[in-house]
Symmetry: D3
Subunit: 320 residues, 6 copies
Amino acid sequence: MMTPAHTDYEFPYMEVATFMRAPLSREFSDAEIGLIGIPYDGGVTNRAGARHGPREIRNMSSFMRRANQTSGIAPLDLCRVYDLGDAPTNPFSVEKTVELISGFYRKLHDAGVIPISAGGDHSVSFPVMKGIGFDRPLGMVHFDAHCDTCDDFMDEKFHHGAPFRRAVESGVLDPKRCVQIGIRGSLPTTDFWQFSYDTGMRVITMDEFYEMGVDAVIQEARRVVGDGPTYITFDVDGIDPTFTPGTGTPEIGGFSTYEAQRMVRGLRGLNLVGGDVVEVAPPADPTGNTALVGATIMFEILCVTADAVASRRNDRQAAE
Amino acid sequence: MMTPAHTDYEFPYMEVATFMRAPLSREFSDAEIGLIGIPYDGGVTNRAGARHGPREIRNMSSFMRRANQTSGIAPLDLCRVYDLGDAPTNPFSVEKTVELISGFYRKLHDAGVIPISAGGDHSVSFPVMKGIGFDRPLGMVHFDAHCDTCDDFMDEKFHHGAPFRRAVESGVLDPKRCVQIGIRGSLPTTDFWQFSYDTGMRVITMDEFYEMGVDAVIQEARRVVGDGPTYITFDVDGIDPTFTPGTGTPEIGGFSTYEAQRMVRGLRGLNLVGGDVVEVAPPADPTGNTALVGATIMFEILCVTADAVASRRNDRQAAE
Amino acid sequence: MMTPAHTDYEFPYMEVATFMRAPLSREFSDAEIGLIGIPYDGGVTNRAGARHGPREIRNMSSFMRRANQTSGIAPLDLCRVYDLGDAPTNPFSVEKTVELISGFYRKLHDAGVIPISAGGDHSVSFPVMKGIGFDRPLGMVHFDAHCDTCDDFMDEKFHHGAPFRRAVESGVLDPKRCVQIGIRGSLPTTDFWQFSYDTGMRVITMDEFYEMGVDAVIQEARRVVGDGPTYITFDVDGIDPTFTPGTGTPEIGGFSTYEAQRMVRGLRGLNLVGGDVVEVAPPADPTGNTALVGATIMFEILCVTADAVASRRNDRQAAE
Amino acid sequence: MMTPAHTDYEFPYMEVATFMRAPLSREFSDAEIGLIGIPYDGGVTNRAGARHGPREIRNMSSFMRRANQTSGIAPLDLCRVYDLGDAPTNPFSVEKTVELISGFYRKLHDAGVIPISAGGDHSVSFPVMKGIGFDRPLGMVHFDAHCDTCDDFMDEKFHHGAPFRRAVESGVLDPKRCVQIGIRGSLPTTDFWQFSYDTGMRVITMDEFYEMGVDAVIQEARRVVGDGPTYITFDVDGIDPTFTPGTGTPEIGGFSTYEAQRMVRGLRGLNLVGGDVVEVAPPADPTGNTALVGATIMFEILCVTADAVASRRNDRQAAE
Amino acid sequence: MMTPAHTDYEFPYMEVATFMRAPLSREFSDAEIGLIGIPYDGGVTNRAGARHGPREIRNMSSFMRRANQTSGIAPLDLCRVYDLGDAPTNPFSVEKTVELISGFYRKLHDAGVIPISAGGDHSVSFPVMKGIGFDRPLGMVHFDAHCDTCDDFMDEKFHHGAPFRRAVESGVLDPKRCVQIGIRGSLPTTDFWQFSYDTGMRVITMDEFYEMGVDAVIQEARRVVGDGPTYITFDVDGIDPTFTPGTGTPEIGGFSTYEAQRMVRGLRGLNLVGGDVVEVAPPADPTGNTALVGATIMFEILCVTADAVASRRNDRQAAE
Amino acid sequence: MMTPAHTDYEFPYMEVATFMRAPLSREFSDAEIGLIGIPYDGGVTNRAGARHGPREIRNMSSFMRRANQTSGIAPLDLCRVYDLGDAPTNPFSVEKTVELISGFYRKLHDAGVIPISAGGDHSVSFPVMKGIGFDRPLGMVHFDAHCDTCDDFMDEKFHHGAPFRRAVESGVLDPKRCVQIGIRGSLPTTDFWQFSYDTGMRVITMDEFYEMGVDAVIQEARRVVGDGPTYITFDVDGIDPTFTPGTGTPEIGGFSTYEAQRMVRGLRGLNLVGGDVVEVAPPADPTGNTALVGATIMFEILCVTADAVASRRNDRQAAE
C-alpha cells in the first residue's frame, strides 16, 4: 500500500493522481470501499474515448477535498477507502472483457469490498453487476439519457446499449427495483426501450423529470428500490452535454450538474452496495469539464455509499 | 438520387454525411421536404464561421435516429425527405447571394418542396423567405437573442442584423404574425429594435420568458401566428452560449436546449411551411456541441414540419 | 488620453481592445469610473492563468454595446469612464503585490475615481479594499463558490482563499454587511468557512439559493448591505463551470449566467463604491466563453455602478 | 451515381464532402479507381479515434484541387475515379471486421477497381491486402514509425501492430519486396520487429533515413519493390507528430510532410495496385491539421496511382 | 499619443496590447514607421478568420523584446515607431474595402510614414500597394504557398487569390522585380499561375527552394528586386501549416519558421518601403502558435525595415 | 513501494500513471535513479502552467516502452529506477521553494540517488543543482532558447531566467564546463546574456547550430563538459514551438525533436549525474504533444544516464 503524500497543504496539481487522493493498494483485504478504474470502450456504437476516463477522473478528483459541505460526510475518514487500480480488460474482445471484469469484481465481492468504479463505457456495468450481484439480484438507480436495455447489435450481446437487459436476463438485476432517470433522445424505433417497460422498470423521461421536480424524483427512486441492496450507475450523458461534452453518445436536453448532485445526495440512507460513473470520454472535451463532473459525481456516490457502509458496520457491531 | 448506406446497424461515424442520413438528391420533383445547406457568412458583423455550419450539422445529424421519442414522429418515414445539397452563394457579395438564394428557393417552392435549411448566418433567412413567401406573407416563430430588425450598417441592407426588416418591407413577412423569443443583450441604442415594436411583432425578452414560463410562451407563439402559413427560424444564439459557444454573436443569459426543444415541439399542429437553423459557426467551438445542438434543433423542426406536411397531404387526399 | 476609434460601424474584432471600448488614459483626474486590469495569479492554490484575464476580458468586452437592454443604462454616456490600464503587480511575491495594488487603488480613491477591476485571482480583492476602504469599512455583495475567509496556507496570509478574512482583520470590511452567494463544493474540514459564520456574514449556499429563488436572494442581499458604501466582488467560479470552465478552482453545481445577471441588476440603487470580476483564467477555456461571461458581468456591474455614481453626482449638484 | 456540385467556383466549405470531390457511387462497374473509407479502430492498443478518419479526410480533401502542381497529374481527368462510400466494419469484433473488409475488397478486385482507402487504424491493411492480393503476393512501400510485424497481443491476431506479419503468413505479401520507412520509437523488447528482419523486409529507420537522404530512400524503395504489383500503405504516424498529432501511437522524431510528399511522388512509374492512408484520429487533433495531411497524402497516392492506371490502360489499348 | 506602460519589468501578459508594445497614436505626423492592423477577411475563398489577425498578433507581439539577437537591430530605438490602430474596412464589400484601405495608406504615404501591416487576408495587399506605390512601381519579395496572380472568381476582381495581378495591372507593382517564394499545392488547372510566369515574376517553388538552399534563395531574391523600392509581403501559409495551422488555405509541405526568419533577415540592406504579414486566422489555431509566428515575422520585417529607414535618414542628413 | 500493474499486455491508457511506468516509492534507499516531479511555476515571467507538467509527463510517459530502439538501452532493466513522487514546493514563495527543493535533492544525493526530474519552470534547476552539486561543481549540457543567466527581475533573484547565474555564483556550476544549445529570440538588451559569455560558457545559437550541424554540436558539447560530473538540463522551449507549443516563453526558429533526440543520445558515455526536462506547460497545448515530447526527452535522458550509472557501478564492482 502506497499512501500518496496527502498533506494539509497539498494542492490539486501535485503528486501522482489516485482517485480522491485515496491510498493506492493492490490488496483487497483491508478495504471497505475500493475505487477502481475500468479503462474500456470497446462496447461503444459511436465515439470511443472512455478508455481514457479513469486516468482523467483520477486527475480531476484531486479537486475533491475531505468533506462534503452539504452532508458533512467525509468518506475517507468514515471508511477504509483505497484506490485499487484498474480492473483487467481486453480492448479487442467484448466477451473476454466481460469475463475479466466479472471475475475481478467477484474477487472484490468475496473479500467484502464495496466497489465504486470509473468507466469506461456503459457495457462495463453488466460484468460488474455479475461479479457482485450473483448471490441476490440488485436494485438500481440509473441516471442516463438512454435505458440501455436494447438487444443485440450486429450479433453482439454485450455492447454499451444493452447491459441492463443482460443483467436482468442473468438474474443479477431485479427490474422491479430499477429506476431510470433522464431518458430522452431520438430512437431507431419508437419501441426501442420496450424491455424496460415490459419488465417493470420505472422510466422517468426528461419531460416527466421536469414535471415532477427533483424532490419528487428522489422520492420515487427511493420508493422503487426500497431497502434491498441497491447499485447506483451514473452515465454522464444523463447530464446535458453542455456540462459533459466529453461523452460518446451526447443527447441535448438533459438535467444539470446541480440536479445530478441533488439526486445522488437524495439516495443517502439506502442500502447501497456499489456504484459507477461511466462514459466520460476525455478526448471529446478539451476543457476537461466532463472529467471534473465525473470525479465530483463519483465523490457524491462515494459519500452516500460510505455512509451506508459505516452504518451497516455500526449495525453489525451493535448486534455483536 | 443516392441513397446513403443507411442500414440498421450503421453507426454515426460511418459513411458520407447527409442531413439526418436522408438520401442525397439533385432532383426536386419527388421531394416533399428538402434539407438544404446555405454555407454563407458574408453578412456577419463579428465572427465569421457559419459558412462551415452545413457540413458540421450534416456531420452531427448522423446522431439523429429515425423517431422522436417524445412525439413519436419519424419524419423520414412520414414524408419524402431528401438532402438537396447546398444552395448557391457568393462569398464576395451579399447582394448577389440574396439573388442566388432567393432564386433557388423560388424553384423549390414552385416544385412544391418545403425547405428546412441549415445556415449560414441569419442574413440568409430573408432570401429564403423571398423565395417561398412572395405569394402570401408568412408568419414567423423566431428564436434568437436579437430581433434582427435593424436598418443598414455601412450602407449595407442585407447584413445578418436586418433580415426581418427587409422581409417585412418586401411584403413576404407579416409582422403581426411574428413572435421573437429570447431577446436580450446590450444595444447600440435603446431603440435599436424599434422596428419590431412599431410593426407589431410580439417580442419576448429573456426576462419575460422566465416570468411567463415555457408553456405560456408556446401558447403565446401559437396565438400570434394563428393558422396561416408559418416559418420557424432558429438562431442558435437564442440558446445560452454555454450550450452553443460556436456562434458569431454570443449573448450570455439565454434559454437552455431543453427549453428550446420544448418550444419547437410545442409548434406541432401549426401550418408550417419551412424553417431554418442558423449561426452555427463550428470554428468557435472545439467541442462540436454547437453543431450537435444545431442538428438536433433541425431534427425537431423537421419532425413538426413533417407532421404538418403529412397532415396537409392527408387533408388533400381526403378532399379528393 | 487616447480615444479608441469608436465609430457607429465599428465591429467587435476591430482596433485595439480596451475595456468596454472606453478611452484609454493614464490620468486619473478626469475619471469618475476607472476600469482597471489586475493581471496577477500568484495567490492561487491550483490552476494559474488568471493573469491573462484582463487582456481577454478587454478583448471580449468589445461585444458590449452602449446600452443595457434591460435597464436602459448606457454607462459611458452617463459617466466619465476610462480604461486606466493595469495596476502594478509582482508575479514573484504576494506581499509585494499586495503593497503595489493597495497603493495604486489608494491613489485612485484619493482622486475620487470609482474602480471596477478585472482580475486576476481573488487575492487581489483584499489590496483593492485596502486602497479604497481604509477610511470606512465596506459592505460587500460577494458571488462565489467559496467564502474565501480561511486562514493561512503554508504560512502565507494573502492567498486567494483568504482575502475577506484579511479585509475584516484590517478593518476595511464590515462582516455584518457582507453577503456571500453561491457557496458550495467539498471542504478540507467541515468548519473551513467558520470565520464567515462567526463574524456574522450572511452565507447563502447553492442549496439555499434554489430554495429561496433569485428574487428573495436579491432582497436578502439588499437587506444585508443596507445603504452604506458597498463593494461587489464577482468570482466567476460562482457560476457553474459549464458556463465558465476557464477558472482556477471550478466547482460544479453553480448558478447560471442569467441568474448572475439578474442578481447584479438587482443591486441597482445601492450605494456602490467599486467592484471586480475575478478568476477568469483563459488558458483553461478554449472556447473563450469564460472571458465573455467575465466581460458581460463586468458590464452589468458597470451599469449599476454608473447609475449610483450619476445619482450621487446629481444629489451633490442638487445640494449645491 | 451522384455527381457533387463541382463547379469552377465551388469553394472547399461548400456541399456534401466526398473524397477529392469525386462523384459518389455505389456501383463498381464503371470505376477504375475507388476511393473508400474504412471507419474502424478496434485494432488499436492505445488511443482510439481513427474510426472518424474517413469523414474528416473527406472533409479536408475538398482543399484538393484538380491538378498536382509538381507532376502535372490531374487524377480525376486521367481516370474514372469515384467515392465508393465506406467498407463494412463491425466495431465489436476484429475477426468479423477482417472478414467484412476482405470480402468487400475482393469484390472491388473482381470488378477491376483499384482501391485507395482512408482508415481506420492500421489493422485494416491486412484485410484489404487479403482482398486484392490473394492471386499474387504484393510488394509494399510502407511509411510508418512502426514495422507492424509483431505477433499476437492478448491472443489477438489482427490488431494494428501485426497486419504485415499476417499478410506475409497468408501469402498475400512478399516480404522480399517490402520496404518500411520511418521506423523509430521505444520497443517492448529490442527484437520486437524481428519478423521484418528475418523475412527480408528492408527496414529504414529514421537514423538511416537522414543518413541516406530522401532521394536515396526513394531509389532504395524502387529497387526493393521492383516492377511487380505494389501497394502503398501510409501510416500518418510515420510523419512527426507535430504535423500529425491526431494519431493513436505518436512517436516524436519523424519525417516532415514535405519529405512525405517527395517520397510518394518518387514512386511514380511503379506498378501500383492500391494504397491507403491510416491512423488519422481526428479527436486527438483540435487543429484539423492531421486530417489535412491525411487528405493531401491520399491525393499524392491517387496521383501516382492514376498515372499507373492510365499507363496500364494505354499499354493494353496499344496491345489490342 | 498614448505610451503604453512599458517599463523594464513589464511582462508579456500585462497591459493593453499594442503591436510590439509601440506607443498607440492616431497622428501620422511624427511617425517614421507605422504598425497598422487590417482586420478584413472578406476576400477569402475558404476559411475566414483573418479579421481577428490584428488583435491576436498585437497580443502575441508582447513577447517581442527590444532587440534582435541575431542582427542587433532594436527597431523602436532606431526609429520613431507607432501603433497607428486599424485601417478602415467594410466587411460587406470587397470593392468598398479596397477604396477605404488604399485611401488610408495614401494618407500615410503622403505623411512620409512607412507602413508595416498585419492582415487580414491577402486581398488587402493590393490596396496597400495602391496607396503607397502609385508614384512608382514597387518591387516585391513575396512569401506564400500561392502566387496570388489568378483572375476573377465569380466576377469578383479583388479576392485574396488575385492581389498581385491587380497590382501589376494598376501599375503599382513591377513584375520584373517580383520574387515569389514557397509556391506549392494542388491547382484547379496546371496553368493557374501563368500570369506570374508570363509577366516575368521569379517563381520559386518548394522543390526549387530545397534544391537551391536558403542562402541561394536570399541571393536570388536580392538580385531580382535590386535597389529599387521594395515591398515585403508575407503570407503565413508560405510556412508549413504545422507551424501555422491558423490560416485560411493551408498547404502542407512548406518551409520552416527558422527558414522564414533567415530569409527575412537576408533582406537587410534593400531599399524597403513597407511590408505586411497576412492570413493569420486565429480561430483555426487553438494553440495560438500561428499568431506568435505572425508577430515574430512582423518583428523581423520591422527590424530590416527600421534599418533601411534609419539608413535613408542618415543618407539624407549626410546629404544636407 | 508500489509496483504498478506493469504486465506484458498493459496499454498506455491503463492504470495509475507513474513516470515511465516505474514503481512508485517513497524510500530512497534502494534507488539508483529517482524520477521526480517538481510541480512549480512561480518563477515564470509570462505564461504559467508548468506546475501541471509532472502529471502530464507522467501520463504521456506511459507511451514509453522498455527499450530504446536506437541504442538498445533498457533503463529499467539496467538500473533500479523508481518514481519517487514530487519534490516539495510552495507556490507562494520562490525563496521557500528554493529551500524546499534543494533540501529534498540534498537528501537524494546523500542517499546516492541520481535524480532525473520533470519540471516545473526553469527556476527549479538551480535548487536541484544546489542539492546535488554542493560538493563539486557540475558541468552542464543545456538545451534552451534562452541562456537563463540574466540577473534579478524586480529584485527577485530566483526567477526562471537566472538559474545558471545563481548556480555559478553559488559554486555548484562550473561555467567553463557549460554548453548552451539553441539560443535565439529577441532580447531586452543586446548584452542580456553577457554573463554566459563573460564566464566562459559555450553558447551555440540557432544560427551556429545550423552552420555546424548536429554531429559537430554533439562533439563540441562533449569537448566542453569533458569527463567531469555533468548535468543535462532540457528546456522544451529549445525545440521549435510548433513541436512544443505548451511552454511559457515560446520562441520560433528552434531545432526539431529528431535533432533533440540525436543530441541527447550523443551524450552517451559522459559522466552523467542528473538531468531534468522543464517548462512543459500543458494548459497551453490542447493536443498534448508538448507533454509527449517532454516524456520522450526524459526517456532519452534516462537512457544515457542509466548507461552511465550502470557503467560506474560496473567500474566500482570491478575495482572491488
